[in-house]
């Protein structure tokens, strides 16, 4: 289980973007975090993945303390983080991009070969485009490429920050399908999304943040039956 407890964090001394937030992510579930702009969703992801050191609070991954651990060590622990911005290497080919996903086990040639074959099987489109420059792919395909690259390490958990922002609905759907498919394969997923309906639709458990604090949380069924009441404060539906 990934557990962030009582996180307080911010980019400057005086201002705390997160003012005591706690989130638990259970294995083999999709946990969605939603909330209005500025509620601290992305900051929470950055804290969990080591890009921002919390001022207080603790991040645990099973029995390992992740608090303040450097961000580049996350891949080695089986944590795959997909931030909101694009992270492909635009001038490298699709295959070179995916190949770099095996950085943490780069000495193991056999494993690289096997994982590459497996990832191509999971994402046949990537195999088709493997010679293309990553920068030439469409936005949605770049997002899929990021996921594919992340899958090289056979992560235990995928942390996705707004994977569909800026994508056309039909392509966004493809991304959500991919996430659900990965969950079905046994992956644990922490998803941050602006797209409330989709986040609730695919999430097993949902957290709502507001101005850096936990607002409400509950299972999908609770949200589905009671959505309007639970989030009416900030959602004008």
């Amino acid at each position: 289980m990934l557990s962030a407890q009582n996180i307080v964090a911010g980019y400057v001394d005086e201002i705390n973007i997160l003012q005591n937030v706690s989130v638990d992510v259970h294995k083999q579930q999709i946990t969605s975090v939603i909330g209005p702009n500025g509620s601290g969703k992305s900051t929470l992801m950055r804290v969990i993945c080591g890009f921002l050191k919390p001022k207080s609070g603790q991040v645990m991954w099973d029995d390992k303390d992740l608090t303040g651990r450097p961000s580049h060590t996350m891949a080695g622990l089986g944590i795959c983080y997909l931030p909101q911005e694009r992270t492909v290497y635009p001038h490298l080919t699709v295959e070179q991009n995916i190949h770099l996903g095996s950085w943490t086990f780069r000495r193991d040639k056999a494993r690289i070969r096997d994982e590459l074959a497996r990832v191509y099987d999971l994402f046949p489109l990537m195999r088709e485009r493997r010679k293309s420059k990553a920068g030439d792919l469409s936005g949605g395909m770049q997002k899929i490429l990021e996921v594919a690259r992340g899958m090289m390490i056979r992560p235990e958990i995928l942390i996705c920050d707004e994977p569909t922002v800026g994508l056309a609905p039909i392509i966004a759907k493809e991304v959500y399908d991919t996430i659900e498919r990965l969950k079905a394969d046994g992956l644990t997923i922490l998803l941050v999304d602006q797209n409330v309906r989709e986040a609730i639709r695919i999430g097993d458990y949902v957290y709502v943040l507001e101005v850096g604090q936990n607002k409400v949380n509950g299972t999908r069924s609770e949200f589905e039956t009671n959505l309007h009441d639970m989030i009416k404060d900030w959602l004008q539906i």
């Binding site: 580049h72 060590t73 080695g76 290497y89 635009p90 001038h91 950085w103 920068g135 992340g150 090289m152």
Partner: protein, 303 residues
């Protein structure tokens, strides 16, 4: 084509390899750290002085004058400057990048500019203004082609430059660390999330720059002397080369350096030697008119 023209072309290409060696380190540091290292010319200077200090017998350690063979002095000078590059990264540049300030690149540029002046005046104070020549790598002048004789040292410098450039290209394109460098240059966050320690990549870039610039300085010191501001003109040429080749493009830098060597050599005999150092800029303007991102440059694609 007569021997005269051929001689000029050969001399131009030889100079091109030397330019490439100087430009490579600059372009690597720029592409990884986004810092234009204004002290790169002084890395070059330090390489020359290091070779001189190690080989000329003027520096004594425990009462024994240091006068090791130049051929051994070269790798030592390279390593020495590489270590210096590492210290610059650790002591000057990293604090800027970790201080979480706006536009760290601009602070870093000012820092390297200050470092450049500091090192020049430091050299002036420490060893004086006079030109020095370390011992030769390859004594005497050698027949090259037609009427062309060139110093063994110059040929040696070009040959070793070609080897070092080849080694650098292999390192960048053929090794994991090299690929990680490229990845870091193209997307830092994307590199971190696959597990690449980008701070280590910064160090690697500075070490590589130190090796290459220090190597160039040491290789060229017997041919072109060493003195406090010896690095100023080469580094300006290197700036032209990396813009010409496309900012951050490594093959671009090599090709641009060879072009520049040729243009300078031919231009100074067929146009006018008085404008030798202007040709670089003319070529640059000409290329940028048609290819604004340089010969091998790619438009930034950032989300």
């Amino acid at each position: 084509m007569d021997y005269y023209v051929l001689s000029q072309i050969v001399n131009g290409l030889i100079f091109g390899f030397i330019y490439a060696l100087i430009a490579l380190g600059l372009t690597v540091v720029f592409s990884i750290m986004r810092v234009v290292n204004f002290s790169h010319g002084e890395f070059y200077m330090l390489g020359g002085y290091a070779l001189y200090a190690l080989t000329a017998g003027v520096v004594t350690v425990f009462g024994i004058p240091l006068s090791i063979p130049t051929i051994l002095g070269l790798p030592l000078a390279m390593v020495g400057v590489a270590v210096f590059g590492m210290l610059v990264e650790r002591g000057l540049l990293r604090p800027v990048y970790t201080a979480r300030m706006d536009r760290p690149e601009e602070y870093a540029i000012i820092l390297t500019f200050g470092l450049s002046l500091f090192l020049q005046y430091g050299a002036l104070t420490a060893v004086g203004p006079y030109e020095m020549t370390p011992g030769a790598f390859w004594e005497g002048s050698k027949h090259v082609i037609g009427d062309l004789y060139l110093a063994g040292d110059r040929l040696f410098a070009a040959g070793i430059s070609a080897v070092l450039i080849g080694a650098t290209l292999y390192f960048i394109y053929g090794t994991w660390t090299g690929r990680a460098l490229m990845a870091t240059a193209q997307n830092r966050v994307g590199s971190t999330i696959v597990g690449i320690n980008t701070v280590r990549m910064n160090i690697t870039a500075m070490v590589l720059a130190g090796l290459l610039a220090g190597g160039a300085g040491a290789l060229l010191a017997p041919v072109f002397l060493v003195y406090p501001d010896v690095g100023q003109i080469p580094v300006i040429k290197a700036f032209v080369i990396i813009v010409l080749g496309g900012m951050g493009s490594i093959p671009g830098a090599v090709v641009a350096a060879l072009i520049l060597g040729l243009v300078e050599s031919l231009g100074s005999v067929y146009v006018s030697v008085a404008y030798r150092d202007v040709f670089a800029f003319l070529v640059l303007i000409g290329v940028l008119l048609f290819r604004p991102h340089g010969l091998f440059g790619q438009q930034e694609r950032r989300a």
